[in-house]
Subunit: 398 residues, 3 copies
């Protein structure tokens, strides 16, 4: 959620500060993986709790400071820009609701905020106000510097509230402008149910953007695409596909129910029901059903069925038979497999890494490859097939 | 469908009687798997057809009897409770429709049911009535006992109708109260299309409940959860997951497109694209893609890829290589596999049951395990790999 | 998209002509796979561009000619029939829009089209017209023959416009009737995003039709069904199923996330997570998870887990063990596998085609079948399992 708030904020300003408190280190680490030029401060929650406390010790270098909430992932930069078109001393976001019960009401007269009233302090008449506080503020002209030091925590929760800045400024005659915003986008996420709704809207945006750029989706509402995924060129994303963080799909066709994470897929077709795990790079490659690729580089390869290719490098023209498994782990360490050009790997082959199969090699079906194979050779490990006549009747009729 | 009607009815009363007719034995058997204290009677359909006939021979021990329809799976107990807040002699559910054509109209005056008029008997003016019969009734104060014996089947269908009870009671001056209900929930299921709509609403309710309790769903609209499934703790259910009857998911992460039925998953991660079949129990276990588990107990196990584990017991610290298959069936009977602690099963191993692999065993890749393996041993069945130089050219250039 | 336009047009007339230009040969070839009695002409785009140019050289043998657009896949025959109920000289489709900006406005008076006004030529007053041209026309009584030769390309685009036919006819006093149509269905597809919306509506129609005929769908909104798929009898289609072109499902149960293409499935159950590729025919057969079938005929077969069956014919009573692979390709050619009745194929068997396994055969687990097997025999290729005591400690404790 925070990711999206930061992403939109950065479209407006190079000076974004994130105030953390709960699991601050974990959150900061996660965000630093995505953004490299964001400031982080940790709220002094013990001494300065509340929304006012959160911004208490932030040096504001700018004439206008926009305060966002981390739990509003759907707010877009285009909506935030509207805050800057007003020259009021404070601009606060408000929503008109059918049923405003439970929310802080905002009394507005002549397009000016007169008063913010908490639910519990509202008179019967004030409870009829349908306009509520949406929690995003633009503070201009030194308002934060002037009023943050004057905030008090003498209230039921013993917290410092940003709404008090608004009230104090109002009392001193400053101009507080309301900005009407869409409920849908400014809704806070307070439960896993809210979260799934926000995610749904976010997913629709992500996929719509790709479709407008020419990517073909089959039943987009059944696909899941992480926010940092890249899809380019004449790509097709079929129903049920899952593209997770760090994936880059270029001129490729990803078939039904495939799951791809942290991998680059170029001019390839993958699936249906395939899995590509992080650190893989596929070029001009065909990956079929029930094939798992992990941390491997495949160029011009065909792996059509039921295989596990892990920690492997496989080169042009090579065909991987059904049931091929790279035995990359011996219970202690992981090892690498290298397979050259134009290799034909027969079905049900186990490739015990570390091992190198050179170019132009043929591996017979069912072979356990536990030694390097030189270019041009056939490799085979196979017990002769024997038959026992009449065994069927003996076995089944006993 | 009937399951949901019974489930809601049981929230209101300990004395629930289900009237069966079509495939009565099969329906009763199915329902008995879910409910152990419900009464079943079979309608004497030959002599007493119709909705009146259905309740004809049920002894009513209570002052108030609620008659539901088995094809209204979306009616919730909270809505049924409203029937009991009235002290009318009969309470009947009615729906206001935009277009009431085709339905039995209910004439209401001063909040009292005056008359029920069948479509075919309605005058032009009566056809304009928008209020229709929703088919659920509460009979109080001996109404059923008094009027069921007076019902007649002298009508076009030669059936006994519950609506006639209402009419007879009305004529005798009893008080019939209408209860306005929501069309969506009181809609009968008359086609497979209606069924899919009812199922969709039911699925939304099921998943919303879990999310409100803290379960994280990724794209809940793509997941399917049977009504008796339990999900607890910090669990995550990804897109496309199918959780079927009898599943219990506790503090676990179920990844995309996995299918789980009748199994307990505790502190484990499963999938993507995994399958757990009935009778399985997984604890602290990792199950990866293309792994099928059936009737097996796994504690502290890793089975990451392309395996079939059936009728097996596998203990702590054991690693199952890709392509491992328990050969639990010999064409005649099914047998069990027992695997101890800290066993390393190499890739593409076939374990021919019945067999026991003790603790601290290493099985080489490609082995056919057809004898028990003692603790501490390596087991291997492998023909030496041979190479034939120059074979590639001979084979492909011929 | 064009497929649907042709399909609906053919319900109205045996004389359907498709005007092609972009990638004409490819489009014609694709359509000819579906329709065998449609005429194709290629627009002389160089000399006669535009919508008027498209129909310029088509000999109209009929009194009434309906002109459709290829990018309106949602228009249904039932809506097109309405054009024929008018006896106007030209009937043109119009849509009422909330916001008509950007569209050609249609001025209508007394249910008669007065004028078509392009956006750029519209006065302020004309811009307020909410009725716009939906682009489908019925030309009766020789209108096309009379006015196509009079069209001019003296306009900004240097194209010939069908709207000019309407204008010329109007000026000569002919009767032009507007036909109000639904925006949803007459919306052209101009982006991949529009395409996904059209597809969604089309998918809803396809599945609703099957459900009304008695097919059970679990979560139909998660399934994808190509337009030419046939589903018959008491079939069940579970969540996430993909049924692609040429599939015929008869009295069968297709389980979650299975993908079927170009195959016939009769009295069988398939999946979950199974894949049936083109050219397959399954009868009375059970296909389980991670099983791929390609170009194979299976009668009365069980293949429950992790298998690849390609180019195979398998007969009644045969059981295919987990991990069975038909090695149908040797790097040069594809070969066939024949398996008889009541064969028991042990797990992890590789069947090296071409090969024939006769009736009543037992194949031991892990066998590489590279010779034909006679009726009644056991076939086995297996190195003895050896054990090395104490190896585990030596390996892992070093």
């Amino acid at each position: 959620m925070l990711y999206f708030a930061i992403k939109e904020a950065k479209k407006l300003s190079n000076d974004v500060t994130v105030v953390l408190y709960h699991q601050a280190a974990l959150v900061q680490e996660t965000m630093e993986a995505y953004f490299d030029d964001v400031n982080y401060v940790i709220q002094d929650h013990e001494n300065y709790p509340g929304t006012g406390g959160a911004v208490m010790n932030i040096a504001t270098k700018h004439d206008k400071v926009l305060v966002l909430n981390g739990d509003m992932p759907l707010v877009e930069a285009s909506e935030l820009e509207k805050f800057f078109t007003s020259d009021a001393d404070i601009v606060m976001s408000v929503i008109k609701l059918e049923d405003s019960s439970g929310y802080g009401r905002v009394m507005i007269e002549h397009d000016n905020v007169i008063k913010i009233i908490e639910e519990k302090d509202a008179s019967e008449k004030e409870k009829e106000i349908k306009t509520v506080n949406a929690g995003i503020y633009l503070f201009a002209n030194g308002m934060l510097e002037a009023y943050l030091p004057k905030l008090s925590n003498e209230n039921a929760q013993e917290e410092y509230y940003l709404t008090d800045v608004v009230e104090l400024a109002k009392n001193d005659g400053y101009n507080i402008a309301p900005l009407y915003v869409q409920e849908e986008n400014f809704k806070g996420v307070n439960s896993k149910y809210d979260l799934s709704h926000a995610e749904e809207i976010m997913q629709q945006r992500i996929k719509k953007n790709f479709m407008m750029e020419g990517v073909i989706f089959r039943m987009p509402q059944t696909t899941y695409i992480d926010a940092d995924v890249v899809i380019e060129g004449e790509s097709v994303i079929e129903n049920g596909v899952t593209l997770l963080s760090g994936s880059k799909i270029i001129e490729s066709h990803i078939k039904a129910h495939s799951v791809i994470e942290g991998s680059e897929i170029i001019s390839s077709d993958v699936g249906p029901l395939a899995r590509v795990r992080p650190g893989s790079k596929l070029m001009d490659t065909h990956i079929g059903n029930y094939v798992e690729v992990k941390k491997s580089t495949l160029k011009g390869v065909k792996a059509g069925h039921l295989s596990y290719l892990g920690d492997a490098e496989i080169d042009n023209g090579t065909n991987i038979g059904a049931g091929t498994i790279t035995c990359n782990y011996d219970g202690k360490k992981k090892y690498k497999t290298k397979i050259g050009k134009n290799v034909f790997i027969g079905s049900d082959t186990q490739i015990v890494a570390p091992v190198t199969i050179e170019d132009d090699v043929l591996i017979a079906a069912g072979t356990t490859v536990n030694k390097d194979v030189k270019s041009g050779a056939l490799a085979i490990s196979r017990a002769d097939m024997k038959t026992v006549d009449g065994f069927f009747d003996k076995f089944f009729k006993d």
